[in-house]
Symmetry: C2
Subunit: 499 residues, 2 copies
């Protein structure tokens, strides 16, 4: 390992300035959390000014001459590996901040502000044509954005890298194609057997009871009170730092199983954030690797732990106590895992069909960015693919191509990270199972420490030290592929449905 | 009125940059609110980094060459009165940001961080001598700070102007001396008569009931849900902008009257914030005039409205409904207004003796800054003055000169604004009474709109347009003096105590 002496002053300067930018960005996250969870509605005009001033201040730090100079000097130096990784990550952020003209950034921000209410109205009116011009504009602006960052690359790959910086789009594509090829026939098969699984929660479960259950479940899983909090939000999310990682959830009084999944999912995100090294707070080594890795942590806890038989066997009494129900572990297991292909809404999809919703969006996004699909034709293509992949056709565009907010945000390239995260979760969990003695017995007994430790050791503590595939390879011994997920899905659902 | 044409571009530039600084400062306020009210304890290290990055970013905007240039150009132009006022206020902030070396600002911030835990421990140990060296250091640093801003001025006057920018210290001094000269004999007299006033709340009043009462009282007073929220905090405060002005309160299960006063007090602060012009958000005309004027609004609602007989007559049923009590309006009036000189704690003091606590601190602070009093002698002087002004001697320094956090914060010059605000409230309320038809009947009927409107028209909407005394003169027809408060106190307490 290299000694401290080989690190030039420019590196320290660079890091100090970069940390300031991170702190300002994190302050902005606190404001966003507040806006979603706490802020009275009338606060919006002032909040917009505040967040825009913070994003300007962060941009100023990252694009200053002093910053560029320190970056170049640091890059030219002969740095140890670890410091090289830090500089690589800072360069990436610098390029994305400095190469895109401020006017374009402002234009995109303005157009997404415009697009949001138009999307909401179009969805309410079930009228894709009212939203289409906005999608057209945003696609155009995002193509321009991608061109500034890398004129030689596939624009979709550039946009995808905003969310998943160091995973080749070709790898992502391979994984998603594999999912499509394997899951479509599996879903068909499961659809045909018509096994009757339990659906035991047919009453009304008051929000207060569900909140108490969510709180006690978080405590059971080891979520530390002194470093987080649970609130409700219309769209559940998790945010924060390694010192303060908060989760939100939402409750449907007729569907306590849904809220439980969502709570454990957000808990998974929070454990990643909390597992980032505290002493690296502010540096790239104290930040998450990307959205796929982040999602792998939420899905691992949601699906591989929360929906597993041993976890449910250990948890079912807690559930019954809070909900006043008397459901058996087997019935809860079935309720948490049954698939329902006859559903058009992504956020309500089960663990398996979920991926079809993503693949469809991925294919449409790519075609749109490449100019191979006209925006006006999206509804038709959407519905055809729904029929092909899931055997259902949405009755309205509101339940079809207008259902998600992402495109109104201009977030093209975001969707795949959901599926990639799920797939990665399976690969990581296999490796953890191999390393941890009798993990099922531990889950049944509510002993989550060994799994926490394994994930911290192999994933969280590295921050952005390694590129995504290398992180996976170091943790699991293999490159990132869909193998583990396919095997897991096949075994679990065939067994569940008795085929 | 001058036309827009006379305003040079430099003025607009200046304002745009200044607004950015304001937005960053307001973002910082959101972080502080979050820290007090929502943040899990473990979040502190990250939060410190974030707020310090924001204060650095704000400082950078205010002290940039571009800012200084725009300021000088704007000052040299022939501006209309209103724009002149804006430039005057920006110049004041610029000087305070630019004249003090960054190293000194950081040193002060560091030493106050150090001082806080030392103060807490010294208070717990009842050991002034453990805290004294910190006070010494902070006094030294604050003298240096004042010298940078104005080497020719009394350092205490410079520090006082951090909180109350445009009120001569000589005026403040005159008001406080008048209070001392008039109130000491009045308190003596009231002490002697031993009238037995009602103290009807002798039970336990659960926090939930008190919270519901506070919520309904805020609604009754006209606090708008869509622009604010109520939470609990160990030290009640109010914060925010004209779009989102939040209040906090705290509850003592044995003292519902105290919580009510504190809630109405913070409501008064929030009404001022909410009354600032929305279209001036970010400019000096959209910001409060200073702490005395701010405190005048909280005290006006707390004392002149909330502790008045007509308000209590209209509110008592609400109180009884929520607390399950059956107190008469007369008894509630007595409970809310009785004085208890036999109390050593400022924040628990009644409306009248409160001022003695402030005057004592003011006199000690001034002597310390002037080097006329040694830090080590503070306990003795404190106790002598307590005996002289209130006829009591604290049993410990924890209940004496160690009780307040202000000096550990380095906030010398802050205390007087509490009393000045009270005094100003009386003068403003007299003017409002004269302008509003039968205000007592309106308070009794829960009609607060006319008073809100009067305060908005005469105080809130001006922001920093006028210096403090001019604001008072425009609102009341007279210069700021203690006359109205003395007359009010004399009449109210003599009548209450039957002398």
């Amino acid at each position: 390992m290299a000694t401290q002496e080989t690190v030039p002053d420019a590196y320290d300067d660079l890091l100090e300035q970069y940390e300031r930018a991170t702190y300002i960005g994190d302050a902005s996250q606190v404001l966003s959390w507040d806006q979603e969870v706490m802020m009275p509605e009338g606060g919006t005009p002032a909040r917009s000014k505040q967040t825009s001033a913070l994003s300007g201040a962060r941009h100023d730090v990252l694009t200053s001459d002093a910053f560029a100079e320190a970056l170049e000097t640091a890059e030219a130096a002969d740095l140890p590996d670890r410091e090289q990784a830090v500089v690589r990550e800072i360069r990436r952020e610098y390029d994305r901040a400095a190469k895109v003209p401020k006017s374009l950034v402002e234009r995109i921000s303005e157009e997404t502000s415009n697009a949001l209410p138009i999307w909401k109205e179009a969805k309410a009116d079930d009228d894709w044509s009212a939203f289409a011009p906005q999608v057209e504009t945003l696609l155009e602006l995002k193509r321009e954005y991608a061109e500034h960052i890398d004129p030689d690359a596939d624009p979709y790959a550039v946009l995808f890298a905003d969310y998943e910086p160091w995973l080749d789009l070709s790898v992502a594509e391979r994984v998603l194609e594999r999912l499509r090829d394997e899951l479509v026939p599996l879903i068909d098969e499961l659809n045909d057997v018509q096994t009757d699984l339990a659906d035991p929660f047919d009453g009304t479960y008051p929000e207060d009871d569900q909140f108490a259950l969510a709180t006690s479940t978080l405590e059971y899983l080891g979520y530390p009170d002194e470093h987080g909090r649970l609130d409700t939000a219309p769209h559940p999310f998790s945010t924060g730092t390694q010192f303060d990682a908060r989760v939100t959830t939402r409750f449907d009084e007729s569907d306590p199983v849904g809220a439980m999944g969502s709570t454990i999912h957000e808990f998974g995100h929070a454990t990643y954030t909390l597992g980032l090294p505290k002493e690296e707070y502010g540096t790239p080594l104290g930040q998450h690797r990307g959205l796929s890795v982040h999602e792998s942590q939420s899905r691992l806890w949601e699906n591989h732990v929360g929906r597993s038989r041993p976890f449910i066997e250990g948890h079912v009494d807690q559930v019954n106590d809070h909900l006043g129900s008397s459901v058996s572990a087997q019935n809860l297991y079935e309720a948490a895992n049954r698939i329902y292909p006859n559903n058009c809404i992504r956020v309500e999809a089960d663990e398996l069909t979920y991926h079809m919703h993503i693949i469809l969006r991925f294919e449409i996004e790519r075609a749109l960015l490449a100019g191979e699909l006209d925006v006006v034709d999206v509804p038709q293509v959407w519905n055809e693919k729904m029929e092909e992949y899931l055997g259902v056709t949405p009755e309205t565009d509101a339940e079809g191509c207008l259902q998600d907010i992402h495109w109104a945000h201009g977030s093209f390239g975001y969707f795949p990270t959901y599926s990639l995260g799920s797939v990665m979760a399976a690969q990581l969990y296999d490796a953890a199972r191999a390393d941890i003695d009798d993990i099922d017995a531990r889950l049944r007994a509510g002993e989550f420490e060994p799994l926490h430790d394994w994930l911290t050791e192999n994933v969280h503590r590295h921050g952005r030290r390694y590129k995504t595939n290398e992180l996976v390879r170091r943790a699991t011994g293999d490159d990132f592929t869909a193998d583990a997920f396919i095997a897991y899905a096949d075994e679990k659902f065939r067994s569940l449905y008795g085929i």
